[in-house]
Structure formats: structure tokens, C-alpha cells
């Protein structure tokens, strides 16, 4: 209902429904201890960001309203890990290298880019990738989705096969090279974007034909902005990214029907205020994480300007300063304020801003949750 801009009985609550509303394994360990569930083992559900696979009974206890559905890796492919003195490393299915510091490392971050040395668009076209539409990616997904839906009654979020097509483009090419391609070798940038879009289209067409009628939300994620503004200009975004988003989101929506809508949640960190109207235009239903600490991302103003057509999935508590460094009372005040800003009329799914990090005290997490319980009722 929230996504249809109606007021349900309470603001829906998300934890771990997507890979940008999750909780780091170390933060989750602390939370379990705090809740007196110390015996439960913590498994990693998402490797790059080291997110915990949150237990179903914890999700139930916290009254979480959404559940994630994931695709599998293609048959016959498993990542292999290697250790050197400083890092643990692996290469993902697209050929991108990742590494995590062995001493206190909290995440895997980019280490190498398979397109770094490519000099022509033909190199990109000829690069062999695993089939995004390999049916083994969906093995058991339908049964799992139906069972999860029956048991939890929650809305189901289906994650993409990779990061968003723009983010995947710069992971493959390297950030600096991809951005300079946009200016001095646009044919190269376009070839890379076409390649990553092909991955997305291939996967979504197969997945939605298979489970489109049992999932509610499709999640796509790119990062277009930093703390203070857009990384590329809105004009560059409109020229190279937006037309491809229009194609992708249009294709995703073609699997929806009047009695079974599919909502698109789109994640981008940072100050994206300038392109929100564009995102709405190409079919985005909800934005995440609503980074309130970035420039021009104040919740009251965003709700006033875009609340009629856009759902805010996130924005619950500033996680750069308050959820981690504030007192429980400050967390509570902040959550109350964000609920007051975003909840009226529906169109709000409460979640922390991005994944809950290891620097978040469990008492603060629970203060956030209690504030949602207290102020999140309609």
C-alpha cells in the first residue's frame, strides 16, 4: 500500500530486504548479543559488503515487512579466494577483482578492472561474459519465493544479477577511465554501457518471466552522486544513462499486470536531487537510501516536491552522524522527525540510510526501531 501512496496501518519497515538496507555481519553480531540471541551463528549473505544473512526469526521479531529473493551464481562457476600478505582476494563472475584487508578489513573493495587496458569498443563487444540468462541462476527461486511469501506474508524484493549497469560499467573499466571515456571517448563509454545493459536486460527478462508474478519489488542500484553533488553532470546523465534506464525500466515494467504491479526501487547514494524528476520519468517508483546528510536531500522538502509520485525507501535516520555517533535519544528524535516528514499519505518504507555499519551501537539500532514502532503508526 505504501508504494501505491496510500496509508497502511503502519509505515513498513525494511531490514535486509535489499543489499543497501542490510546490516554488516559485525553489527548484526552485536545486535544478536544485545537481543539475547548470542548462540545464533552469523552467516554472510552478501559478500562484497559483508552483510549478514539475517535470521527469519529475527526478521519476524523486528516485524520486518520485506524479504529478499536472490538469484544464484551460474552453474559450474564458483569464485576462488586467494590470500597474500595483506589481502584476501577473489575475482567475480564478470572478471572484476576484489580485495579485503586481512588486518581489520570490513568489506571487499575493487582491486582490478578487466576493461582497464581496452583501447577500442570492439574489445568490449568481444569480451566474453557468463550468460546473464543462464536458467541455473533461477534454480529453486520460484519455490523459495512462494514459500517465503506464504510464511512471512512479506513483500518480496528481487535483487539484480549485479550492480546497476552504470556502476558495473565503471567497475569493469575503472572509475577514472570510464568517466573520462564519457568526455573523450564516448563511443567506448557507450559500448561498455551497452554491454552492461545487455546483462541487465538478459537477466530481468528471464527472471521476471519466471517469477514476476510472485515478487513485488525489483531493486536496481547505481551511484550517481557524492556528498555535495552529482558525479557526472545532469546533462551527461541525460545523454548517456537516462535513455538506457528508460529502456531497462520499461522492459521490467512490461512484466507487471494491473492486478500484479512490479515496483522499481532505485538506489543511488548522495546528492541526486537534480535528477529525481528524470528518475520518476523513466519509471522509478521508489528511491533509496535518501541520503539526508547529502546536499539538497532534506526529507521535508523532498516529500513536498516529489511525494505525490515517489516513494521514499530509506531516509529513516542519518547514518553518517546520528545512527552511529548519536545517543539513543538523538536517534529517536531523528527517526521521529524523518517519519513526520515522510510518512503522511503513504509512500514511505522506513529503513536506515544504507547498510547498518559495525560502528552502530545495538542500543542505537533498537532506539531507531522503537521510534519506528512508536511513531510509525497511521
Amino acid at each position: 500500500m505504501a508504494l501505491r501512496h496510500k496509508e497502511p496501518d503502519r509505515v513498513p519497515f525494511d531490514l535486509a530486504g535489499t543489499v543497501t538496507t542490510g546490516i554488516h555481519r559485525l553489527a548484526y553480531r552485536k545486535l544478536l548479543d544485545f537481543l539475547g540471541i548470542a548462540e545464533a551463528e552469523v552467516r554472510v549473505g552478501e559478500i562484497h559488503q559483508q552483510l549478514a544473512a539475517v535470521h527469519e526469526d529475527v526478521l519476524k521479531r523486528l516485524l520486518v515487512d520485506v524479504r529478499p529473493v536472490y538469484s544464484r551464481l551460474p552453474a559450474g562457476w564458483t569464485p576462488s579466494f586467494t590470500d597474500d600478505e595483506q589481502y584476501t582476494r577473489f575475482t567475480d563472475q564478470w572478471g572484476i577483482g576484489w580485495r579485503k584487508p586481512k588486518d581489520g578489513g570490513l568489506y571487499y573493495d575493487l582491486a582490478s578492472h578487466p576493461f582497464a587496458r581496452f583501447s577500442s569498443p570492439a574489445d568490449v563487444v568481444n569480451y566474453k561474459i557468463p550468460d546473464p540468462a543462464d536458467p541455473s541462476r533461477l534454480l529453486g527461486m520460484r519455490e523459495a519465493a512462494e514459500q517465503l511469501s506464504k510464511e512471512s506474508g512479506a513483500a518480496l524484493c528481487l535483487a539484480g544479477v549485479s550492480a546497476g549497469f552504470t556502476e558495473l560499467a565503471w567497475w569493469l573499466r575503472g572509475f577514472e577511465d570510464f568517466l573520462t571515456d564519457l568526455v573523450i571517448h564516448p563511443d567506448m563509454a557507450c559500448a561498455i554501457l551497452d554491454k552492461t545493459l545487455e546483462i541487465k536486460l538478459g537477466f530481468w527478462e528471464m527472471a521476471l518471466a519466471h517469477v514476476g508474478d510472485s515478487i513485488d519489488v525489483v531493486v536496481e542500484a547505481d551511484d550517481y552522486a557524492g556528498q555535495h553533488g552529482m558525479i557526472m553532470s545532469p546533462a551527461t546523465y541525460r545523454k548517456y544513462i537516462k535513455p538506457r534506464q528508460r529502456e531497462l525500466f520499461g522492459r521490467i515494467k512490461s512484466y507487471a499486470s494491473p492486478d500484479h504491479p512490479i515496483y522499481i526501487v532505485f538506489h543511488s547514494c548522495g546528492a541526486i536531487r537534480e535528477i529525481i524528476p528524470d528518475l520518476i520519468e523513466v519509471g522509478v517508483d521508489a528511491i533509496n537510501p535518501v541520503q539526508v546528510s547529502a546536499a539538497n536531500m532534506d526529507t521535508r522538502q523532498l516529500k513536498r516536491e516529489f511525494g505525490d509520485s515517489l516513494t521514499f525507501w530509506g531516509g529513516g535516520v542519518d547514518s553518517q552522524r546520528i545512527l552511529n555517533y548519536g545517543t539513543p535519544e538523538q536517534v529517536r528524535e531523528e527517526a521521529k522527525r524523518r517519519i513526520e516528514d515522510l510518512a503522511p499519505g503513504g509512500g514511505f518504507v522506513f529503513a536506515a540510510i544504507h547498510n547498518v555499519q559495525p560502528d552502530v551501537p545495538p542500543a542505537n539500532f533498537m532506539a531507531m526501531w522503537e521510534a519506528w514502532r512508536e511513531y510509525g503508526c497511521y
Binding site: 584487508p101 578489513g105 570490513l106 573523450i184 556528498q227 555535495h228 558525479i231 553532470s233 553518517q320
Partner: protein, 210 residues
């Protein structure tokens, strides 16, 4: 248009073919590397910084100008043995321990190098001890630390404390930045300067040098 003006334009537009060509012509005309740096590179990169601050250009355009300056510096290399130092100041720069994000840190490095500050780049995942060793070895005017994550940001403070212990804190100005870092945080941990982006870092350091 004079040669220097043409070179400035080549940097501003990120013309990677023309920038080194024009540099070689300027050297051939008898200009010194230092003059080329001070008359073409620095003003061009200050203009890039200014346009970025005003929102006239974004990161991609800033990067191509930085690449053009790199091409100029490479073209200057053969002439450098007999020339005085190119840079007016130096900075030891890196992303703090546990943090592998280098986008912001690299942008700061590019903007500073183009504006006459020698960059000693320690790259990413730099421990407090490594920062302090580099300050001892290179004796830079500035130490620049970057962090993208709230979980790694505390290493900035650890580094500053270690600098104090090593008796080096007064020898270097510390500048910090990165998405979660604020002016207030910089003050709390005892840094000298906070820059919200690469253009502002360039502006602050240039003001201190001149």
C-alpha cells in the same frame, strides 16, 4: 593565441594530443619547465577548480584536464634534470587504514599536482605508522588523509596522535576530507584543515603556499 594560452586551452578541454605537443614547442622556444608549469598548468587547473566549485563542470571534465596536465608533466621530464624544482610545496596523501576507496583522494592529488603541489601518493589502506614514516622521510608541507567510511574515519585521529608522539605534528599541516568528514570532525580530531572536495583542497593549499 599565444603558445601558453593555447596550452591552457588544451588543458581546460582535456586535449591529450595537443597538450604534450604544445609543451614540446614551448620547451623548443626556450621556455623553462617551471615557467610552463606556472604560466599554463597552474592557472588552467585553478580555473578547472573554480568551474567545478561553480557547478559548471563535473568530475569527468575535471579528470580529463588532470590527464592533460599529466601529459604535460611527462613531456617536461626530459628537460627537468637541469631545471629548478617544479613544485612550490609537497603533500603526502593517502586513504586511511581499512579503507580502499581512492576516487576522492585521487581527485585531490590531480588537482594539487596540476596547481604546483608535489604529490607523494601512499595510495589506499595506509596505516597511521606508514603516514608518520612518510612524513619523516619526505618532510612534506602537508599531510592529506581521506576516508569514505564512518568506520575507517577514526584512523585519521590515530594518525594525528601518532604524529604528535613522533614529535612531527608541528612540522606538517594536516588536511582531511572524504564523504563523512566534516569541518567539526576535523576540528575535534586536531586536523588543521578540512576540504569538502578537490577544488576546495586546491584553493586552500594554494592560498597557504602563496
Amino acid at each position: 593565441m599565444g603558445l601558453i594560452e593555447e596550452l591552457k586551452q588544451a588543458i581546460l578541454t582535456g586535449d591529450l594530443r595537443r597538450a604534450p605537443e604544445l609543451t614540446e614547442r614551448a620547451l623548443g622556444d626556450g621556455m623553462s619547465p617551471l615557467a610552463i608549469m606556472e604560466l599554463a598548468c597552474t592557472p588552467a587547473m585553478l580555473e578547472v577548480g573554480d568551474k567545478f566549485k561553480k557547478g559548471e563542470i563535473y568530475v569527468p571534465e575535471m579528470l580529463v584536464s588532470a590527464m592533460a596536465v599529466k601529459a604535460v608533466l611527462k613531456a617536461l621530464e626530459p628537460a627537468l634534470q637541469s631545471a629548478p624544482a617544479l613544485f612550490a610545496a609537497s603533500i603526502v596523501l593517502g586513504t586511511v587504514k581499512g579503507d580502499l576507496h581512492d576516487i576522492g583522494k585521487n581527485l585531490v592529488g590531480f588537482m594539487l599536482e596540476g596547481a604546483g603541489v608535489k604529490v607523494i601518493d601512499l595510495e589506499v589502506d595506509v596505516s597511521p605508522g606508514t603516514f608518520v614514516d612518510a612524513v619523516r622521510t619526505h618532510k612534506p608541507n602537508f599531510l592529506g588523509m581521506s576516508a569514505l567510511l564512518t568506520t575507517t574515519m577514526p584512523y585519521m585521529q590515530e594518525t594525528i596522535l601518532l604524529l604528535k608522539e613522533a614529535g612531527l605534528r608541528e612540522d606538517v599541516r594536516v588536511i582531511v576530507g572524504g564523504a563523512p568528514v566534516t569541518e567539526e570532525y576535523a576540528r575535534q580530531i586536531g586536523a588543521d584543515l578540512y576540504a569538502p572536495d578537490a577544488a576546495r583542497a586546491q584553493e586552500m593549499l594554494r592560498a597557504l603556499i602563496s
